[in-house]
Structures are given as C-alpha cells and as structure tokens.
Assembly symmetry: C2
Homo-oligomer: 266 residues x 2
DNA sequence: CCATCTTTGTGCACGCTTTCACAAAGGCAT
DNA sequence: ATGCCTTTGTGAAAGCGTGCACAAAGATGG
C-alpha cells in the first residue's frame, strides 16, 4: 500500500473493507486479461492464482460486493469486470491533473494504465516557465498560474503531485482550494489536508528501504549480529557520514526537505 | 503499501512487526529533516505529527528497536537517525540495477532519494538496442544481454523492474537466477518468484483506482445510489465499452497484458 | 428425478495492529 | 533533597484482516 494518511479511520466505506478495495484493482486487471482471451467464466481458485492472493480471501472480497458467482461453476468474467468497474467508479470519466512535469511527471503522463481505466489527463502543470508550452505525452504543459482555472474548467477532482518536496504542500493547498478532493502524492512529504480530502502517498525510496531491511536480515542470518552490540554509543560519527551522503544529491535541488521525487529534466 | 505478495507470512522479522518496518522510513525522513535543522531532541508527539502518525504508535514502534528515549525529554534526533538507519540496513551500500529505461526507469534513475539512502544505481539495463550506450542520469544504458554479468560483477541483490508487463516475468526470472533476492516491481503483473526472494509492487494505476473509489463515494453521498439498482444484468454492453477504451492505449505497445508501466521514449 | 461432483459463500478462530490509559522514569526548580 | 511536571514505555483491550473448513447451492450425468 502506498504509505499515506489513513484517510478513512479504518471505517468501512459502505460495508466494503479498505483492504478489499485495495485488492479490487488487482482482480480487475486479472479479469480484464481473461476477458481479452475470451474466457467466459473463472473459478475463485484460478482467479486468485492470477491475482496472487488466497482464494478464500478473494471469495470473501467478492461477497462484500454481492453474490455474483455460481456455485459449481465460478464467476462470469464479463459480469464481474462490470461490477468491479462500477464499484470502483471506473465506468465514469475522471479528469486528472498532474502537477510537476519532471521525469516522473512525464512518466505518469505517458502511463498507459491511466487512460485505459477512465482516467483522462486533463492537464499537465509545471511551475517552470521554460516548461510551459512544451508537449509531453501529446499534451501541452501549462503554467502553475493557470492551476485554479484548469481545475474549475475541467471539473477535476483528482490531482497528482509529482513536484519536489518543497513545493508539494503549497501545490496541495492550491489544488484543494480549487476543488480537488483526492490527491496522489509522489513527493516525499506528509501533506496536511482538511477533512474530506483523501491523500494517497507513493514513495519510491520507502519501498526500497523496506526491501533493504529484509535483504539485510537475509544476509545477516549467518553472522549472528556482529555490529549490533558494537558501537553502542557513537551517534555523532555516523550522523556525519549520513550528512555527507546527502550533500551528494543535494546539488540537484535543495528544497526545505532536501529530497526530490524526480529531478527536473536537464 | 505497495500491493504485492506477502513475502513474509505475517512473521515478525526479528520481533519487529512488518507494519513497523514500513513506517521506519517515514520516521527516518522526518528525523533527517530535524537533523538538518540541528534540532537536538524531539518528543514522540512532535515527531508523530511530522510523520503523520499517532504518537502512541510511534512510541510502540520505537520500543521494538529498544528504548532510545529519555522520559520527560524525548528522543535524541541524531542517535535515532543512526539507530533506524542501522536497523533498515542503510548504513551499508546497496548496489541496485534498474531494468527497463523508459520514462519511468529514467525517472527512477534520476531519483535523488535513492543515492541519499545508500542505494547506488549500479547499472541501467534495457532490451532495446537503440537505448544501449545512451547516457541516462549520468550512467550508460547497457543491453539486457549483459544482465547476468552485471549482477555478478557488482554483487547486486536488489533489482528494480520498470519494463512493460509482458517482459516483467522474464526479466524477473533472469534477475533471480543471477542472484537478485529483492525485487521492486513497477510492471503491472503478478511476479512469481521462488521462496527467499522478496517482491514489492508499486502500481501507479491501482492507487488512482482506490482514490476513484473514495471519490465516487463522496460524490454519491447525495443521490442515494441511483445506478445501483438499475442495469442489474447487462454485462455485454459494458464489456464492449471497456474493450474499446483499452484499444485506445494499446496502439502504444501490446504486451500479453496490454498494459505498460510507462511507454518507451519516443 | 436422483446422486454426485464442483465451487461458492461464510461462520469461526487466530494473530496482527492500533489505540487507550497509566505507571514508571527522569529532568528541573526550589 | 524533595516535589512537580513532562514524556516515555507498555500492559490490556478492541478492531481488523486472514485463512480454514464446511455446509449450502447449483450443474451435470444417468
């Protein structure tokens, strides 16, 4: 899951648990693939394997949506695609704006998975005047000054933030003030938003750090923690190393946080 | 969280719960920011606010690492930075390869948050011969043929997959065979890996779909589900719409899944 | 029409996570 | 020293999520 605010206080959004909602897109993807191969029905076992989950979990997930399966047969692929799409709100068009057209923003703009699921990139917005007018993914980049107008004119309710960390909160505030109520945040910052606004956070480096933790464990299963008991009270020495390592990348851009989701194109 | 395999069967990796591990990078980021402002100590309340979590949760998380706080005062920022870094394995150097240098791969290569946390991009790898030799983020792109040698020569244990979905499993298999034991997957596919290999998945479109779900709920709180009872049995009509929408983006590249994490550079 | 076989839908138990609430611990002023 | 005030560290409880295991439901063949 994207590490982010618990936008819903563990409340079920309508009887559908949050954990289930997070898996629906997974099922939808597997089902779409089956649909393309013209597979008419699928059992919970098969679909679970394709989605990489437990079959009991999958059945329970579907039970929250209603009983769409046929015992002894399985689920109707097309019908399930429809039901899940409807449940997720993908049967309607969602105009989206992407703010911060660096490498990551450009990658997002080009991302095929958006358009195929009802997400339409309504506008690309960047604060750099040099970016204005450039064509990215077939769309003209517009300046931040126009943000409010773009949101209003297109009825945008979902915004994607791919700016440096230092600009994220400010952009977020403007998006929210302009009417955006859902934000996907790629900037490595905790955004504060008023109630009623959902934020999901995707942090590329956090995922790697979690992998590193497990990797370290795997490697350390042989030597029984040598450095663990050593160096018990030497914080300053290490913090110097750390700071040095950070200076190395701060030459790119030095926001208040010193961290940037993706550097701007050269 | 990146929706991915539960690589550890809910087992605590050494007394440290998985949920806690996932939050450590969050704390680390907040602490690093404090460290840069030369703040000597911080209370659980303050740090929790900065990291966007509950203070009791934070204290419990830290209690798994040991008792590094001082009652009545708080936590020593530098010392905590050191302890968390060590726990996450960030005090050592992690060579990483990125496979698939499209927009997303390039964005990852340029991502400052990696280098600053001990992750060193050892190599960029792409299957497209036209990419070979190009310089991205100051690193020369190498051809997939060299994958095994690169992994071995650099002692890489962490691989990042940013290829189209169709190539992901194949790339994954080669990475694993070459010795990689941790994979960060951006391709929209379920990867199957042998035991002992960790996979974390980041899926950009899934996050948007989850937002859309909540967005729909917010919008639908007024009109009490009109379309819910309507159209109870019309699956074919919708599946046509769906298929049409997907053809729209398949002109880019048509893998077995029809979905691509980020299109290749033009 | 009945028996059999497959597969769904779900009650239940277990374990992880979160949160509360408070005693213990340490600093600080007097 | 003593007492007060702040903040940690942690039992205990409640809330979720997961997975087992099985009864109910439907298809299928004779």
């Amino acid at each position: 899951m994207a590490t982010g605010r618990n936008h819903r206080p563990a409340t079920r959004s309508r009887g559908i648990p949050e954990a289930t909602v997070a898996r629906l897109p997974l099922y939808l993807r597997a089902l779409t693939a089956l649909s393309e191969r013209s597979v008419p029905t699928v059992s919970s076992e098969e679909l679970a394997a394709a989605a990489g989950v437990n079959s009991a979990k999958l059945r329970k997930d579907f039970s929250y949506l209603g009983s769409y399966g046929t015992r002894g047969v399985g689920y109707d692929v097309e019908y399930l695609v429809y039901q899940i799409s409807r449940e997720l709100g993908l049967t309607q068009d969602w105009p989206v704006v992407i703010v911060g057209i660096g490498n990551l923003g450009a990658a997002l703009a080009n991302y095929g998975g958006f358009a195929s699921r009802g997400f339409r990139v309504a506008s690309l917005i960047d604060a750099d005047p040099a970016m204005s007018g450039k064509i990215v993914a077939g769309i003209e980049v517009q300046h931040t000054d126009l943000l409010e107008r773009i949101i209003a004119d297109n009825g945008v309710s979902i915004g994607v933030i791919a700016t440096p960390a230092g600009a994220a909160q400010q952009v977020c505030d403007r998006l929210v003030a302009a009417g955006v109520t859902s934000i996907l945040n790629f900037a490595p910052t905790v955004l504060s938003v008023p109630d009623g606004v959902d934020v999901r956070k995707v942090d590329l480096s956090i995922e790697l750090q979690i992998l590193a933790f497990h990797e370290q464990r795997k490697a350390g299963e042989l030597d029984t923690e040598a450095a663990d008991t050593a160096a018990p009270a030497a914080p300053p020495a290490v913090s110097v190393t750390r700071r040095a390592a950070e200076d190395a990348d701060d030459d790119t851009e030095a926001g208040p946080d010193g961290d940037v989701p993706a550097v701007m194109p050269a």
